[in-house]
Structure formats: C-alpha cells, structure tokens
C-alpha cells in the first residue's frame, strides 16, 4: 500500500521543492491520497483523536510552564495563581488536567479496538509495539505531571510509586535514591519530574511519528481483518477520513468540554487541593483513575516485589501479544468464542479499576464477612482483584495461545468489498 507516489507537483514552487525536500509529497501521500479501507468504523477514529489530544497537551503544557514555579514552596500556589490571575489560566490548566484523562480514555479504547480486531497481528507487530511504547511513555508522563501541583496526592502518590522500585533486589535502593535526588521525595524530585514531564511528550511525539510511519507501510487493518485486495476496497484518506475523523473528534471534544467547563475536578481527588505535607498521610492514597487497574494488580499480590513485577508484567505482556495470539483470523467478528473471552477481558479490566479505587478489605457484596481464605476474607476487594488479575494474565498467556489453535472461526469474507456489497443488497 505504501507503493508508488501519485503526487504530481502542479505549481513551479511545488516542482522546485519536490526536487529538494519532498515534504509536500510526503504530506500528500500520507494524509491526502493514502489509500484507506472504506469499511473503517468509528472505533478507528481514536487514532486521530489521540493525535489531537497529544497536540492539546503539548500546547497547553507549554503555556502552563510559562507560569508554573517548580519549587516545593511555590508550586502549589503558582498553580492556583494560574487559575486566578493568568488570563484564561483556568481554561488552560483545566484543559491540561482533564486532557490527560481524555487522552487515557481514548488510548484505552484505541488499545481495546486493536485487541478486538486483531490489528497487532502480522504484518503490524512493530506498529503495535510502538503503540505499547507510547502507552508506557504516557503513563510515565502522566504520573510525573500529577506530582507537579505538589498537593497531598501528588506528594504521597510519588512516595508510594517511587518506593515500589525499592522492592527490586540489589538495585532497588539505588534506583529510588537516584530518582529522588536525595533520601526522600523533595525539591530535587519535583525538579527532575518537571524536567522529564516536559521532555517525555516530545519523545512521545517522536514515537508517534514512527507509529504513523509503521502504519503507512502495511496500511490500516479494518473491521473484517481481511487484507486490502484491490483499489475498490479503499478510498483516499482525504476527504473521506478527514471528514469522518473530524466528526468523531468534534463529538469527543463535546465530552472533553463537558468536563473542562462543568466538572473540571470530578476526575481528580480533593486531597490534591491540600498543599503537600510529608508529615500528614492522606487516609487513602489512590492514583488517578487511569492507573487504578494496575494499582489493583499491584495490591492483589501479597508480596511487594511480586506485586511490582505483576504490575509491570501487565504492561509487558502487551509487547509480546503478537506472538501469543495463534489465531490465523484477525477480526473477532469471525471468532465467536474469542469474542466472549474478549468481553470478559474488558469486564475484568473494569473490575480491576473498581478494585483499585476501593479499600482492599472492604466487602464487595454488603452481606458482611463470609469466610477467611488465606490472608483475607473471600468477600473482599482484594480477592475480587486477584480473580480479575488472574483472568487478565490468563487471557494473554492461556486463552489467546490455545484458542487460536482449537477454535473454529466463522467463514471470513473474500474481500473488504464483499460483505459491504452484501449489505448494500440487503438495504
């Protein structure tokens, strides 16, 4: 699909430029003429949404940095000053804070769409791995960004998460000291997190460039999972997908705006409006919502090092997914059994998110204690998170490898156009 370029320079300037630096050709080939399967549904619009969110985060972030003071004594007040005294500072800061949440909503949908339609399979493994890398970088960036306002959750969240690395044998203590820039979370920690929080988004932007490059070699997957066979299967990216993505982005922005303008603090935690105080620990330290599933996996394992390994393993397993899934059929549209396991997987992720927000010993069903199983009551969130964690890993390590070999998929259409034409006849 990345075949020969159809770009023809029309003006003198374009011809001049084309023989020197063919950027117009590159742009034309990637976002105008790029042949795109004509059957992409709205789940495919999240790539565009994510690109826009990255842009919004970078632009609002650069403006925030003009007013923010990275110092333990001034950070909190400087953020409030942005809210009160900087022209439209409230808008910029709320866009940035809620933009992070929107970014994660979009990335989770984007990842789940990949899982469902098998987009990670050959020949898109590198594309998928680059995506996993972007997600990992996003998590690091979001975590460090949340530390910057230097509220109670910022500080104690940073303490909890950096301490986790201390569980690693031999190197753990050195790594935490190195991360902190001292022997506790303090001003040097805030300074380096600020520096890295500014750097990483540009690293993300770079990997996004590679991600798009890797996308444009094999081209888009599509809901049928069938390869593009002829020109009849595709439409040029512009105007067909610029308008479809544009519509989806606009609707997504309505959701974004409803948070920014009407509920800007609902996704955060009230404790983070209390200036950081190392001597007072909040009653419940909870991460931002987008980390809750991983927080639940961490707490599901009774051993600290085991918990840390499971948490990182939950992301690590994604990197090798293309080689774990043995199915020859890409799209779960034609894999009824896999579809069922996938839906349970989505449910398990939501349950893990719920468990991450609750106290481990709280009862899941309000009937009181049932019976003690090892270290906790069976009717507790810690056991629920263990069940969900087990399923999370089983989905990747057992279900996908075995199911691909034993299941009998439904017949797959000849081409992208075939089921489309069938539909047209029915209409």
């Amino acid at each position: 699909m990345s075949g020969h370029s159809t770009y023809e320079p029309k003006t003198g300037f374009e011809r001049w430029m084309d023989t020197r630096l063919p950027v117009i050709r590159l742009a034309y080939d990637s976002v105008v003429a790029f042949p795109t399967p004509k059957n992409l549904n709205y789940w495919w619009t999240f790539g565009g949404i994510l690109a826009l969110m990255l842009g919004i985060q970078i632009v609002t972030g650069i403006v925030l940095v003009m007013h923010y003071v990275p110092h333990v004594d001034h950070a909190f007040a400087s953020v409030e000053r942005i809210m009160r005294d900087v022209n439209y500072g409230w808008l910029i800061r709320y866009m940035h804070a809620n933009g992070a949440s929107m970014f994660f909503i979009a990335v989770y949908i984007h990842i789940l769409r990949n899982l469902y339609y098998g987009s990670y399979k050959a020949p898109r493994e590198v594309l998928w791995i680059l995506g996993c890398l972007i997600y990992l970088l996003m998590m690091a960036t979001a975590f460090m960004g949340y530390v910057l306002p230097w509220g109670q959750m910022s500080f104690h969240g940073a303490v909890v998460i950096t301490n986790l690395l201390g569980a690693l044998p031999i190197v753990g203590e050195s790594i935490t000291t190195w991360l902190w820039g001292g022997f506790a979370v303090d001003n040097p920690t805030l300074n380096r997190f600020f520096s890295l929080h500014y750097l990483l988004p540009f690293v993300i932007a770079g990997v996004v460039g590679l991600h798009i490059w890797a996308l444009h070699v094999p081209g888009n997957n599509n809901p049928t999972g069938v390869n593009v066979k002829s020109a009849e299967d595709t439409v040029p990216f512009h105007p067909y997908y610029t308008v479809k993505d544009g519509f989806a982005i606009s609707v997504f922005l309505i959701l974004f705006a409803s948070f920014v303008f009407y509920n800007p603090n609902i996704l955060g935690h009230a404790d983070n409006y209390i200036p950081a105080n190392p001597l007072v620990t909040p009653a419940h330290i909870v991460p931002e919502w987008y980390f809750l599933p991983f927080y639940a996996i961490l707490r599901a394992i009774p051993d600290k090092l085991g918990g840390v390994l499971a948490m990182f393993g939950a992301i690590g397993v994604l990197f090798v997914l293309p080689w774990l899934d043995t199915s020859k059929v890409r799209s779960m549209r034609y894999r009824p059994t896999a579809k069922l396991y996938f839906l349970i997987f989505v449910l398990a992720c939501l349950v893990l998110g719920l468990c991450g927000a609750k106290l481990p010993d709280d009862h899941v069903i309000p009937i009181g204690s049932t019976f003690q199983l090892f270290d906790a009551d069976l009717n507790s969130f810690v056991w629920l998170s263990r069940i969900a964690t087990a399923y999370y890993f089983a989905y990747f390590l057992i279900v996908l490898p075995i199911l691909g070999l034993v299941e009998k998929p439904l017949p797959v259409p000849e081409s992208i156009s075939a089921p489309v034409l069938d539909n047209a006849k029915k209409d």
Partner: protein
C-alpha cells in the same frame, strides 16, 4: 456505536466516585440547593458579601486565606464587584476593606519591620506569623488555610455547610477527647472512644475547632436575619467563590463553547454524509 462509546466512558468515570465514598466514617452530608451549582448557576452577590463578613468576623481569627487578594473581592463576579470600576484596584469597597487590615512590611527608609494598612494588592492577612504560633494558639491543631477549601474537601460546599452546622450533642457512650468537639460530618473513626455497641459506632469525628456560628453572632448589613444556619450558608457560598473565583466565567464561556461544538459536529455530520453518499460501506 457512539452511545456505546459514551457508555464506556461513563463506566470509566463510575470509578471516580469510589474514593470519595470510601472516606466513610461520617454522616451523609446535608443537602441544600445552591444557586451557584448547575451549568447556569450564579453567585448571589449579597450572599457573598454576607459570607465575607462572616469570614472576616469569625473565621479569619484563626484561618488564613493566603491565596486570596483584596483586589479579587472586586473582580467580576466577586462580592464587591461594581461595573463602575472595571479595574478592581479602583474599587472603593475593596480599598476600604483592605485598609481595615494591617499587614507586615519593611520600612523602605529604615529597614525596620513595620505594620501598615493593606492595599488591594495584598493577600488576606494571616492571623498567625507562622505554623508554630497557629498551633500554639489552637491547642496543637493547625487551622487549615481556606483559600481553596471548597475544592480541597470531598463534597465541597455541602461538606463545609454540613460541618459548620454539624455540631450535635455526642451520643451517650461516646467519650469526647478533652479540647476537641464532636461533629457528625467530620471524617474520623470513633471506635476507640465508643463504649456502646461496637457494631454501631456513631458517624463523624472529633475536631479541634469549637462550634463557631450562633444566632446573631454576625450582624448582616442588608437586614437578613442572622441565624447560625444563614451564616453557615453565606460563608459556604463565600468560601466556594474564593476557592474558584472564575467558576461563573468558566460556565458562561463553556456554554458558548458547547453551542459551537454541537453546531460544528452537526455540520461535520452532514459533510460526512455528503462526501460518503456514493461509497458503499
């Protein structure tokens, strides 16, 4: 498809309520319909002025508001905003209110520390020179800064209002720690002080702040009857405004943004239908 996506997002958001509810231990907050809530909510300027008076005469004896400046009182949407003075520093009310307060400064001639009347450019004065002094005067407890208090407590205005009116006689069987006061909305765990049925520990906690509001304690200049209930509502409104002086501007701006985005989406939808009309998909 779209509905599914919104449902998915909503599911994700359902988790957020979790940590807030998990704080537990205190009674369900009192409900009150606040005029400033909702997408078209507005602050009642008279209420904000009364609330400022409650803060000034009662709260400010112990609580600082380091992030709030006198000029903010006269900004658009503030308690003393007057359209005649677009620059809040010209506003005579704000100037007069500032001048009532004394703030520490350095004499530019001699370099000696002095006290001078505040100007609109000054923040509300802190009642204590430092944290140790604040603790020493309050039985070891630190009165929290109130600048962003409505954002810093889960439940926001409902919590402040409930707490201020939540001092009730402790139930029999509850031993109140000397120097503290029982409040059924204050998050805490009273198990250790409870001698009754361990399955029914009373909600709430002990806090170092004694009940502050009482009928007639503050005289309202607009003639509003000064009940403790009214004082609590007014000071809650004031603290909510002070926590986010740009809230009304935000909602007004948001309404325009929403209309724009909805119209833009509709236009894009029709463009999409038109461009795709000849493609079977």
């Amino acid at each position: 498809m779209l509905r599914k996506r919104i449902a998915l997002a909503a599911l994700g958001l359902a988790f957020i309520a979790g940590p807030a509810l998990a704080s537990g231990g205190s009674a369900p907050l009192r409900e009150h319909t606040w005029g400033f809530e909702g997408p078209f909510g507005k602050f009642d300027q008279a209420q904000l002025q009364r609330g400022y008076k409650v803060y000034r005469e009662v709260c400010s004896a112990c609580h600082s508001m380091d992030l709030v400046y006198f000029r903010t009182l006269a900004e658009k949407g503030g308690p003393f905003y007057d359209p005649k003075y677009p620059n809040p520093n010209d506003n005579p009310y704000a100037k007069a209110l500032a001048a009532e307060a004394q703030v520490p400064d350095i004499d530019s001639e001699t370099g000696d520390p002095i006290q001078r009347p505040a100007t609109t450019a000054d923040a509300f004065p802190n009642p204590f020179p430092n944290e140790a002094a604040a603790r020493a005067s309050n039985g070891g407890a630190m009165p929290p800064d109130l600048s962003v208090i409505a954002k810093a407590r889960s439940g926001g205005p409902r919590y402040i209002y409930s707490l201020l009116t939540g001092y009730v006689n402790p139930p029999a069987g509850l031993t109140v720690t000397p120097g503290s006061y029982y409040n059924k909305y204050f998050p805490g765990d009273l198990t250790a002080s409870w001698s009754g049925d361990p399955k029914h520990v009373p909600p709430g906690g002990f806090l170092a702040m004694p009940p502050q509001l009482a009928d007639g304690k503050v005289t309202f200049d607009d003639g509003t009857p000064s009940t403790a209930e009214q004082q609590a509502r007014d000071v809650t409104a004031f603290l909510t405004w002070a926590s986010e002086p740009k809230m009304i501007e935000r909602k007004t701006f948001g309404f325009g943004a929403m209309i724009y985005l909805v119209l833009f989406s509709v236009l894009l939808w029709f463009s999409y239908r038109r461009i795709w009309r000849n493609v079977a998909h």
